[in-house]
Symmetry: C2
Subunit: 489 residues, 2 copies
């Protein structure tokens, strides 16, 4: 009886599932389609690239569809199709690199192959395959070995591959055909047609420049650092009313930089194949971007360690926190502003040294203030010393971050010279902007050191004004910063 | 006159250079050849791989040279050559992944292509190219778009490429030939022959397994960390008689780990295509290796920051240095030993939990001692506090490193369970080895805290013995470690 019930239940369940199947299928399909559309919307260039490949394919298929073209190229037209599929890369640099590599490798390997066939024919019908075999083996092995060399691997890997391919094909098929020259000519010309179609479509239909991508990526990474830096205060000294999840994502933005070296290297490598375009000339200093990216990554390493401290919730005593909060907040805010100015200067390709240096100087002054605050938070007992260690570590890693920001700014300065960044706008506008900027900052300078969180509107009080404008780096004017520090505390 | 002299001088210089040319050319060529040989010796598998490609090429060229084979396959034999050149990858995983992708993609795209040609023929001679064009455009664009999805890009990128290629070729050339089925059959069979030859050569002639490479790479990276950690003491507290350049390279060994993510991901991805081999079964937990590698990299980030401190030469006062040297030395040495034991356990695929845990416990004890040393180095003035900040930072980053080492050990423990590492040898041998080990260590425990660097032979004094053996992590036995601390200071 029980078994019968079971069977019946199973049957009912099966029919139910069968009934639900269409609606479930619909749900799954709708979800998938939505995902795909979202993915396309994320970067519409992906959709455009797919269309471009379709167009290039359609264009070369005319070699088959149009009778006069078919009569002159015959089945060799398929090499054009093969070339289009293989050479079509997302970026112009990728397409050019593959197209040129394929073209030159086919030309040289084709010529060598024809030579090899003629050489082998001297050795009679018996000796021909042996000579050809030896040549194919040795040249194939040598070219394959050459692909391991880093320099060749970086720029000519595909060329070496096509070299082996073409040489083997020409040499081996030369054994069975006498029309080797006609075949070689047809193949070479169709490959050139395919490659040219690809390159033209890639350059003239919504081009995606690897160089521009690298340029934007480096600027974006600097912006990410800036966001992480500016989010840091909120994370380490959370205000009671703020929900910590809000700033969370912002502070973690640096994460993607830790492992972006591979993409940057690839983009820089492809950018070198690209002709001048837009604001970039032919010999744009792409290697400098890699240097900047390296420094940015160095800075991100520091964040990774800092983040461990923020996450560990291993907080120092409140009194100590209060003492260091103000200089740390100023320091990270100003360093963040400097990074934002640097990123903007890269994005707009215009020099903005004055603004960047002003922010860096401000953050260095804050470093001086931080040192003074640390000095003044001399622990009363040995237990206190142990408790402030995490705070001290955090502070000195942040100081290192300010050094990193300075190095980044120097590297961008170098780039701006080599890449002929335009001089910045009207200096009057600039100074007005900086003034406004500092005014905005003044609003956020909270005299928390008094332990008074409620007093938010002190931007009109004169001593804070003096603080922002007259400060110099601590090394040169120790007395001044000491005075300022007394004003704040 | 002067001009004549100049011309004569130039001539003489030219002839001299012409004379020197052969010897210079010889020098350059010798140097190049030496370089190439060195490069080959560096990793002989490169030479073997090149030979393997040559052998595979020679094998498939028999399709042309042997008359009966040529009669059955004809010029389609060139697809076998093409397949061999393109599919031959350095690792077995790479070859399998490309070969299987190529095989399946050709099969499905070929079938679809034949279907498309038959469908198009319903629309008459006028409509045929239009229908074919639409189909090629839309399937080509769709498959190209699919290559952007991370999951497809990671495992089936090559398959999608070959899909577009084969479908376009079959569909387009189907317009001009009636023997499309014969053509498709010949092409598919030669591609299968080429792929099979490649895969067989790759697996049975000196195979290079991506999985084994990943396995070794992770173990080596852990060893590199250990070396950096053990070299750290010599770098930060250099003995006067030691030349600092000696340890330099050792401390920097971690550098390559910072950017090794790309290679690790690729190897793990290829390893999943490989059949069981040697000590690795079919479903070996390759993903766990990536987890371990991530933790190792996290640890390397800490070294990068530490290295900044060592490089900056921003030394703390000598008295403070002397106080923290002993626990820091023990801590880094023991953590290094733990890492070495972990690396060895991975390399030999045998569990060695007891030894690893013993070293980790020792290093944790040293962390406790370090905390005590820090506490006891309570600064006398506020100026002193500022001076010990770099030392404090360095110490607390090192403490984080010990935490990292513990996490690595836990991850490897997980791996050892999943990958069925064999249980370790005879426990008697192990305990004897550990005893010997600790005896060796005792010899290097220098009671520098007394400021007496000359007293090297104190390993027989009982209080140091107690120190090494009886200590527990400080959190549980604060009293004990305090007592020990009194003993030492």
């Amino acid at each position: 009886m029980e078994m019968d019930m079971n069977v019946q239940e199973k049957k009912a369940g099966f029919f139910q599932r069968l009934k639900d199947f269409p609606s479930k299928l619909k749900d799954v399909v709708t979800k998938r389609v939505k995902n795909v559309l979202m993915f396309g919307k994320d970067d519409p260039r992906r959709i455009i690239h797919s269309m471009k490949v379709g167009v290039a394919l359609t264009l070369v298929s005319l070699l088959y569809y149009v009778r006069p073209l078919y009569l002159s190229f015959g089945v060799s037209g398929m090499w054009a199709i093969l070339t289009v599929v293989v050479v079509s890369e997302f970026t112009v640099g990728g397409t050019l690199s593959k197209g040129l590599n394929r073209g030159f490798a086919t030309l040289t390997a084709g010529a060598l192959g024809v030579g090899a066939v003629h050489l082998a024919r001297f050795f009679g019908h018996q000796g021909e395959p042996i000579i050809l075999g030896i040549l194919v083996f040795s040249l194939g092995a040598a070219a394959t070995f050459s692909r391991f060399f880093p320099k060749i691997k970086q720029r000519y890997d595909y060329g070496a591959l096509i070299f082996v391919l073409t040489f083997s094909m020409v040499a081996i098929s030369g054994y069975r055909t006498d029309e080797i020259l006609v075949m070689a000519y047809q193949r070479l010309s169709t490959i050139l047609i395919g490659g040219t179609v690809c390159i033209l479509v890639s350059i003239f239909v919504c081009p995606v420049w690897a160089g521009e991508d690298l340029h934007k990526m480096v600027a974006n990474n600097i912006n990410k650092l800036a966001n992480s830096l500016e989010g840091f205060e909120g994370e380490y000294f959370p205000l009671p009313e703020k929900i910590s999840n809000e700033t969370n994502s912002c502070v973690r933005e640096y994460k993607s930089i830790l492992t972006s070296k591979g993409i940057e290297d690839t983009l820089a490598n492809l950018a070198r194949w690209e002709p001048g375009h837009g604001r970039f000339r032919l010999r744009h200093p792409w290697k400098k971007y890699l240097k900047i990216a390296g420094l940015v990554r160095q800075c991100a390493f520091h964040f990774e360690i800092l983040n461990g401290y923020v996450l560990s919730n291993y907080k120092a005593p409140e009194e100590f926190q209060n003492k260091i909060q103000e200089p740390i907040a100023t320091m990270s805010r100003e360093a963040g502003e400097a990074l934002k100015a640097i990123a903007k200067s890269i994005k707009t390709m215009s020099k903005d040294t004055a603004r960047v240096n002003a922010h860096i100087d401000n953050s260095k002054t804050a470093v001086g203030n931080l040192r003074i605050a640390l000095k003044s938070s001399y622990p009363e007992t040995d237990k206190d010393l142990l408790e402030i260690i995490p705070g001290v570590t955090m502070a000195s890693i942040l100081i290192e971050v300010v050094n990193c920001v300075e190095k980044i700014s120097e590297a961008v300065e170098e780039l701006s010279g080599l890449a002929h960044f335009k001089e910045t706008l009207d200096p009057k506008i600039l100074s007005a902007e900086i003034g406004q900027h500092q005014l905005l900052h003044r609003g956020t300078v909270k005299p928390v050191l008094d332990g008074d969180n409620g007093e938010e509107d002190t931007d009109s009080s004169p001593h804070v004004l003096i603080n922002v404008h007259d400060e110099q780096p601590p090394a040169t004017t120790g007395k001044n910063s000491l005075g300022v520090e007394k004003n704040i505390v």
